[in-house]
Symmetry: C2
């Protein structure tokens, strides 16, 4: 049982803190339910794209978990997009010498279908928007534009490389359509060469033709690029049958432990319940929601009575719309909720490295000052930086937003792909994340914000 | 190209250091050969138990790599044990109700065989040496002693838990033999429940009967324990055909870049070339040797001219004899070699966390003071601690021994098991290890020891 103090302390009491944090880490590594919860969601339900039956099942499962944990739980309604992949995509390439080979693609989320029988067109490789402009309509009309920017291996923090490339996935179809292209193929956003594609979200511009868009595996991207480099013409046959249906009713799932002294001050933990429709959505973001709920479980098991309200939110539809986060922020404003601090876990269930903190400068400095208490546990990278998509809309001038930062090296090996399965998550790494977030919540609750 | 200075600097020059270290990390993530070297050793040669044909192939391959890199390379002869597993082990258990089920075992390295047809005996579970004593000869004679101590999940650094349990694997057969047991089965040293056994080294006492010893998968250990807990008698049928043959000629493989100013001061990097005879020995310790060689490659690519001699040693026979390390230390003594610092990489090819440092106290403090220069790269856990088995014999009063510390959470999932394969190693994590070790070598060479 962890002690709680009647008032916020003025200085730090690191000896006492270290005892508490030791106990948090010990208990997380021995008694957390985060891993079996994730196992059940991944293996019994599976992936959970917004609007799918599995997403609905996951909402019920989450609400049940929160209720069983004794939290005040609620389902917050939100309408979400309903895009369906349809039949497995079919694609092959044909080079100048007539050789055909299958390539692995996944329609991007939100993409239109090709015609029913598919189509064949020449592939033109580009790396930047400027390449498109240089080639112009003359060389792009009716072609398949192949965006092949490689993620930069030089950044140690892999999300920096992702941030640089993701515009091609998001807006490649729009830019290619400007020049009359027939479709846009995007190199999967992964630093390694693998054989399966990594999907993700995209957009269209109403003023332009909506052309099909898909991700291609990095291995196939290398193959096509090598053929073109060698002077071959490359044509691609491409068929996908995805479609967008009317919005569907779904929910954010919310649970909380009321604060004993400052119940109106909310410390929020969250991640997103939805996932892409391949793999299990285990790292992205099954790990994040179960870690967030794991914090509340740990607080209960430790018999710690928080002074502030500790709330967990499983956001719906982060992947292709952010509708859950938008609705949650709108409802919070209507109810004048005061989120003093929000922590998002949405960078995989890997071994913890630290936290990225943004918002009110005084509070940011207060969080960064916790570093000496956390580094013993390997949680040493407390830095200013972006927090997360789902908590972003909750930013005010007075609060602080925090992104939990696990090790980033393997994340894009799994991200948005069939390989993001439960067995890719290590139990201890997941539990260390629960402990790290609990430790930060404990310190914030103890010392106030 | 990194600058080298005519003399050791008095203070630190962190701005200059950071530029150099940035370049080291950048180059390692873009140009290191450590990953393809490891791939070739794992996929073209495979596992490399001392005395095996593959170990001999790996010696030749290593010597070739070093020579091609332009190092002064040599093969240092050493006689090594030659133990052979023979046919795949066979084991099943039978409970009181007559139900039989197969269990997965691996003979421990150095174990004797069972009789040719195998044997069946009752299984008695123990957790400690004291349990053996309490049961006594009466209850253990002719039985199979089953050492089932679970690794403690509470330690964040998993090697601490390993250190506590490994005595049962090493000396379980000796202790059980004291009470007339027919064999010793040891729970695999892994924190998770998996279905394959993890082997390792063991010993016998000449004054006692040498009884067969094997590791059993954690999943099967749990099954047997549950049956016994439920009151069932458990008998095990067990057959293994391993044997020890006369010692075989093998080699340590050594390469170096001579120092420009202090050639007699050696900074050594190393790991072990041999592995167990299952999986690929990818993390243990293919990663470590290729990282060590990767440091010398990077130094060459960076056109850095070290003031001190930078030497890499691929030690033979760490797993079941430490003969290579022993011979290397003996030869070094004969030649009065001065190893001012030794770095060992033998804890897997995972994302770097820091270094454990031991030895001359002034030098230890000097190494720990590099922390501010390294933590930007996630290499922040510079702590006093044990270094490694192969460099241990090189300890003097004047030098410093350093263990490279990657993240430890997943290590025992692979350790000494069929799952320690090349695909379990992440390219970037391996390369970050190369960079971390190169950075430390750069700082030690620049500021002197």
């Amino acid at each position: 049982m962890l002690s709680t103090h009647g008032q916020d302390k003025k200085g730090f009491d690191f000896l006492d803190d270290q005892k508490a944090l030791d106990e948090i880490f010990r208990m997380s590594l021995t008694e957390s339910s985060a891993y079996p919860w994730l196992e059940s969601m991944c293996l019994d339900i599976g992936h959970r794209l917004s609007g799918s039956p599995q997403a609905a099942e996951a909402v019920d499962y989450s609400f049940k978990l929160m209720t069983e944990l004794g939290l005040e739980a609620q389902k917050q309604p939100v309408m979400v997009p309903h895009w369906v992949r349809g039949e497995k995509e079919v694609a092959f390439i044909q080079s100048s010498d007539g050789t055909k080979q299958e390539v692995q693609i996944l329609a991007l989320g939100g993409s239109v279908a090709t015609s029913e029988e598919g189509f064949m067109a020449e592939v033109v490789e580009v790396e930047t928007w400027e390449d498109l402009e240089a080639l112009g309509r003359e060389k792009l009309e009716g072609k398949i534009v192949f965006f092949n920017e490689r993620m930069n291996p030089e950044n140690i923090y892999t999300f920096h490389s992702y941030g640089h490339c993701v515009k091609h996935r998001w807006a490649g179809a729009v830019q290619a359509s400007k020049y009359g292209a027939a479709g846009a193929i995007v190199r999967s956003l992964n630093l390694r060469i693998d054989k399966f594609p990594h999907t993700g979200s995209m957009t269209y511009d109403d003023a332009l033709d909506s052309i099909p868009a898909a991700a291609i595996s990095t291995a196939d991207a290398e193959t096509i690029s090598a053929l073109l480099e060698a002077g071959s013409k490359v044509e691609m046959m491409w068929k996908q049958s995805c479609a967008t249906y009317p919005d569907v009713q779904s929910y954010n799932v919310i649970g909380e432990i009321k604060g004993s002294e400052f119940p109106d001050e909310i410390i929020l933990l969250g991640g997103h319940l939805d996932s892409w429709d391949v793999g299990h959505g285990a790292h992205d973001d099954g790990a994040g929601v179960m870690q967030s709920l794991g914090v509340l479980e740990l607080i209960k098991k430790l018999e710690y009575k928080p002074k502030r309200t500790i709330r967990v939110v499983f956001f719906m539809n982060e992947e292709n719309g952010l509708r859950g986060a938008t609705e949650y922020a709108a409802q919070s404003k209507l109810q004048s909720l005061n989120h003093v601090a929000c922590i998002e876990s949405d960078r995989g269930g890997f071994t913890p490295r630290g936290f990225h903190v943004e918002g009110n400068e005084a509070l940011v400095q207060k969080i960064l000052a916790f570093k000496p208490a956390l580094e013993k546990y390997g949680v040493s990278q407390l830095e200013e930086g972006g927090s997360g998509a789902d908590i972003g809309p909750l930013k005010t001038e007075d609060n602080v937003l925090i992104g939990f930062v696990p090790d980033s090296q393997r994340y894009f090996d799994y991200h948005h792909s069939p390989s993001d399965t439960f067995d890719a998550v290590n139990k201890r790494e997941l539990e260390l994340g629960v402990a790290s977030m609990t430790a930060l919540v404990y310190l914030m609750d103890k010392y106030g914000l």
